[in-house]
Amino acid sequence: MEKTVNQKAWFLILPVLLLVAFSAVIPLMTVVNYSVQDTFGNNQFFWAGLEWFEEMLRSERMWDALGRQLMFSAIILAIQVPLGVFIALNMPKSGFWSSFCLVMMSLPLLIPWNVVGTIWQIFGRVDIGLLGYTLDALGISYNYTQNTFAAWVTIIVMDVWHWTSLVALLAFAGLKSIPDAYYQAAKIDQASRWAIFRYIELPKMMGVLMIAILLRFMDSFMIYTEPFVVTGGGPGNATTLLSIDLVKMALGQFDLGPAAAFSIMYYLVILLISYVFYTVMTNLDKKGG
């Protein structure tokens, strides 16, 4: 059968195009314009060429922040993905307890970022916070405002608490879509628990798991509010992640030119990694479908 081609359908996406132009394309163009100029306020700009890009590429501050950011995202993914899958595998598959688990696990996802930050900031305090006080009483030295390791543990545990449920819920959705026949066939073959996971559950979950990894990567790579509320980027610069550094540069120091060059490079890295994930995901879909 011949497919009908109707180019008029393009007009239907016009509202979206306008919205994206207004909220993303025009601001991005402005950032590109800022990145090649210098300003001292008053909306007066002076041509600087590629100077800011050069400065940023040679800036230890940016490379350090990028290193910390990559480490943060890698740790987050390494913990949340296996943990989320483990939780999904052990959740009740149906009935009251299944719904109960789903609701309980959705709760952290509904809490706004700044509230999560505040909760953990107080939770970790040695004088009034339950976690900080308990650790202190046990004789464990814990002070996230002075100790780099404690600060990192706090922001990582906080992110795990906030977002592991998302991975678990997506993995659970993937598991639920596997027909019983697969498990029956595995039982007939006397497959081990590991073999069932490796050859049935994991391949069937791969599609949603890739979405979970992509979402968690992008979110953790752009994270700002939670670590900012808890540690403010400290102690020193120990938890100054890319976006915290960027905001400091753009709004704190009002260095619009370098900050614009910085954000363009930040954007390019996110675009590249997201494109790689997207390609892997569509390839998996094609293989699976």
Binding site: N33, Q37, N283, K286
Partner: protein, 90 residues
């Protein structure tokens, strides 16, 4: 438009990008895209290859600026070679 702090070079840059996108849209309408398997072992259409070219060119320019740090326009020659390679083999 003054608030957007336009400069002639950035305006030219965006005009070139806009023209490229328009040309590729017209091409896609006149000669519909057919996905093909390239050296990346993944199917790409003409639009995908343009995206890979543009993104890669941005990184080539940054790398040139960071490593060589002079004669930036020469980076565009590398980008052109890269673009030809992408459209031929990816």
């Amino acid at each position: 438009m003054e608030w957007m702090a336009w400069t002639t070079p950035t305006a030219i840059f965006f005009i070139i990008i806009a023209c490229t996108l328009t040309v590729f849209t017209v091409l896609a309408i006149k000669f519909p895209e057919a996905p093909r398997m390239g050296i990346l072992r993944t199917e790409t259409t003409r639009g995908d290859r343009l995206f890979i070219t543009l993104l890669g060119s941005a990184f080539i320019n940054l790398a040139w600026l960071g490593v060589v740090g002079a004669n930036q326009p020469y980076a565009l020659t590398v980008c052109l070679a890269y673009a030809v390679a992408v459209f031929r083999w990816v």
